[in-house]
């Protein structure tokens, strides 16, 4: 049986379908991932497989040798290990739906925080592990690589990952919008709250070069300074610190504002009007709200940041609609391209050659009658196979290359040369957007041989066709 995109199956569960209590029960830690891959490949219905396991999802992607539904059942049984409570949370998709699901996951459209960038890296890692374990062949490998390319396209063409949706990221984004860049800027922590340490770390990761910590209790200031790799300053040096900092994160427990209008005024003058950004994480607030009215000084409190995040989330949702359209189009094009291209030509060519060889061998054997022993019969059969393989070796390689570089003229010429026009035309109709897919895919094994190739990669000296339709 030849593998097409129809033979791609995904079974799994995610934060959409299962609570954490269920997810943690079937999560596959890295340490046993290879074992899981081994187990799944041991299933007779599975040809290739990739296992993705993150805190929000556990998914098995596979190309299957049997009816997708039957293989899906086998994967479900493996994942739930007979636990009906888990089975109810599992979803299962086949063919185009499975491809679209894979594309959506990689493009971070299926994530808890839509557009978060980690998921792509996690799937890539899962793919690398599966590849290293020899669990990935042509079809699944190509699907995954295409999914990574689609994810990149979504990222560049939409802004689904652009807007910060966590408080710390929002703070960094705002700082960059005001100051141009966080790189090389100085950050001052006023008060030693937990949240301010987190924000400081984000700012530091964004490139902030200097961290100052100031706190009423010098001891706590020293402690936090050590923790975040900053310098502690005594409380009475606040005005000097305000003069030098570009971003100030406040988190004291003071009942009254620490940064009053007068202090801010003085700071602005001392700073020669360089812009200053206050992130006020304290409740009650540390910065007098009127300070925001001063030219060049910007104050965001917890509620303001929350509002920004809400706004960003809405913007991401809007972008996600555009991203979904891209994913849908790409998935359709990919499946269509899989159906067109070189595979059917090669399959047909191979089948014809084999039919002719078989017929000729049978005729010869019939003519020679009973004068041959078993070894001689096998010798004649092997001879015909060897001639066929040698003869088809070069055309097969060329057609495959033409398919990989989407050389339609060459493929048509090949089809015409071998008189297999009719069969190809039937496939062409299904592939209007063939050129969209597979542009980044390396030359792959003939689709028909993937099942075999996945398990035992072709050695350098082996005729490629020898693994065909095996």
């Amino acid at each position: 049986m030849s593998a097409t995109s129809d033979h791609l199956v995904v079974v799994g569960l995610s934060h959409h379908t299962a609570p954490i209590a269920v997810r943690e029960r079937i999560a596959v830690p890295d340490s046993v991932l290879e074992g899981a891959l081994e187990d799944l490949r041991g299933l007779p219905s599975i040809a290739e497989t990739v296992v993705v396991s993150t805190c929000n999802r556990v998914e098995v992607y596979a190309t299957v040798r049997v009816e997708p539904a039957a293989a899906g059942r086998a994967i479900r049984d493996y994942l739930s290990a007979g636990d009906r409570g888990i089975d109810g949370h599992l979803y299962e998709r086949h063919g185009l739906d499975a491809i679209r699901h894979l594309f959506r996951v990689c493009a971070s459209l299926d994530s808890m925080v839509v557009g978060e960038p980690q998921i792509l890296g996690q799937v890539k890692e899962a793919f690398t592990t599966a590849e290293a374990a020899g669990a990935v062949g042509g079809l699944l490998g190509r699907s995954c690589r295409r999914a990574f390319a689609v994810a990149k396209r979504v990222r560049t063409e939409t802004q689904v990952g652009k807007y910060a949706v966590s408080m710390s990221y929002a703070a960094v984004e705002l700082a960059a919008k005001i100051l141009g860049t966080v790189e090389g800027r100085s950050v001052l922590l006023v008060g030693a709250g937990k949240m301010s340490a987190l924000a400081a770390r984000h700012l530091e990761r964004a490139g902030a070069s200097r961290l100052m910590v100031i706190n009423r209790s010098r001891e706590r200031a020293d402690e936090l300074a050590r923790e975040v790799g900053g310098e502690a300053h005594p409380w009475d040096s606040l005005p000097r610190c305000l003069r030098e900092a570009d971003v100030v994160v406040c988190s004291t427990a003071a009942p009254e504002p620490v940064i009053t209008l007068e202090i801010a005024h003085a700071a602005r003058k001392a700073r020669r009007h360089r812009p200053l950004f206050f992130i006020d994480l304290a409740v009650p607030r540390d910065v007098d709200p009127n300070v925001n009215g001063l030219d060049g000084i910007y104050v965001y409190d917890v509620d303001d940041l929350d509002k920004v995040i809400d706004e960003n989330r809405r913007a991401r949702e809007e972008e996600a609609i555009r991203a979904e359209a891209i994913v849908g189009q790409e998935a359709g094009a990919f499946v269509a391209a899989m159906r067109s291209e070189a595979a059917p030509i090669l399959r047909e060519l191979r089948q014809r050659g084999e039919a002719i060889a078989r017929a000729e061998v049978e005729r010869t054997l019939a003519r020679l009658g009973d004068g041959l022993d078993e070894a001689q019969r096998q010798g004649i059969e092997a001879l015909s196979r060897a001639i066929l393989n040698k003869l088809l070796h070069e055309p097969t390689a060329q057609i495959r290359k033409a398919g990989a570089r989407e050389d339609g003229a060459m493929l048509r010429a090949a089809a015409e040369l071998f008189g297999i026009e009719a069969e190809i035309a039937a496939h062409d109709g299904a592939a209007p957007a063939a050129s969209l897919a597979a542009s980044d895919a390396p030359p792959t094994q003939e689709q028909g041989s993937e099942a075999g190739v996945a398990r035992r990669p072709a050695g350098p000296g082996r005729p490629i066709l020898a693994t065909g339709s095996g």
Binding site: K162, K177, H273, R274, N292
Partner: protein, 267 residues
């Protein structure tokens, strides 16, 4: 072929650029930004030919009309924007520049009759220098005006804590502020030269070193405003909102001075 045809072709390309820039403003895509930029460049090419042809006519003794002045300024504004694109790629500025240019060129075309008073062919280097630098200065201030306006719009969003259209489409406040000041500084130098050469020219022609007509008055006022901005920036670090407002005021004053060139109204 007459300059008018090239002028029209340029105007059409500018208008197309303006439309595409607005489309980019509504929904930012790389393709739109590129298309708009190219459209503007094509318009600039046609416009350039038209300007060059008219310039030749004038230097042969033709009249320097309001239409030419505006057209030349618009030409320089587009040129400055395109040049700016080499360092800062901010299509949102284009979305303001392109319509501004179209708005400048349309009336220039509708009222071509106004001519510079007492007009005579260019003789000697002072008058062409005076006009060239004056027009260049106005063009720089026009661009600075757009940047200052964008700064204020973005600043308002950041202060109001409602990141919206400007927040997502513009670079940082810091960059806009620096860009604005650079344009203003360069414009200030050109304005100073304009006033200097103008006074010299005025004395040699009329014997009066500085006649307080509207063009001199508004130019001087604009110069004072901008000089103050430059002074305060250099001494106490003035920047941001106030500089943006002052820039816009300076441009409006300059436009008034420019109108005065053609009306010759005394203050």
């Amino acid at each position: 072929m007459s300059a008018t045809i090239f002028f029209h072709l340029g105007l059409i390309a500018y208008a197309a650029a303006a439309v595409i820039f607005f489309a980019h403003l509504a929904k930012a895509t790389e393709r739109r930004a590129r298309l708009a930029g190219r459209s503007l460049l094509i318009g600039f090419g046609f416009h350039g030919v038209a300007v060059a042809m008219r310039f030749l006519e004038i230097s042969r003794g033709g009249a320097f009309r309001l239409a030419e002045g505006l057209s030349f300024i618009a030409f320089l504004v587009v040129g400055a924007y395109l040049l700016l694109g080499r360092w800062y790629r901010i299509p949102t500025i284009g979305a303001f520049v392109a319509p501004l240019v179209v708005a400048t060129l349309l009336p220039a075309h509708a009222i071509p009759a106004a001519e510079v008073g007492g007009n005579r062919p260019f003789d000697g280097p002072i008058l062409p220098l005076h006009i060239g630098v004056a027009v260049g200065g106005v063009a720089l201030f026009a661009l600075a005006f757009v940047v200052a306006l964008l700064y204020l719009l973005l600043e308002r969003e950041v202060k109001a804590k409602k990141p919206g259209a400007m927040f997502r489409r513009l670079p940082s406040l810091d960059l806009l502020d620096r860009l604005n000041y650079q344009l203003v500084l360069l414009g200030f130098v050109m304005l100073s030269i304009t006033i200097g050469t103008g006074a010299f020219f005025s004395q040699s022609e009329t014997g009066i070193f500085f006649a307080l007509r509207s063009k001199e008055g508004f130019s001087l006022l604009a110069w004072l405003v901008v000089a103050l901005v430059v002074l305060l920036r250099q001494t106490i670090g003035w920047r941001g909102r106030r500089v943006a407002w002052a820039t816009m005021a300076g441009f409006v004053l300059l436009t008034s001075a420019f109108a005065g060139v053609f009306t010759g109204v005394s203050l």
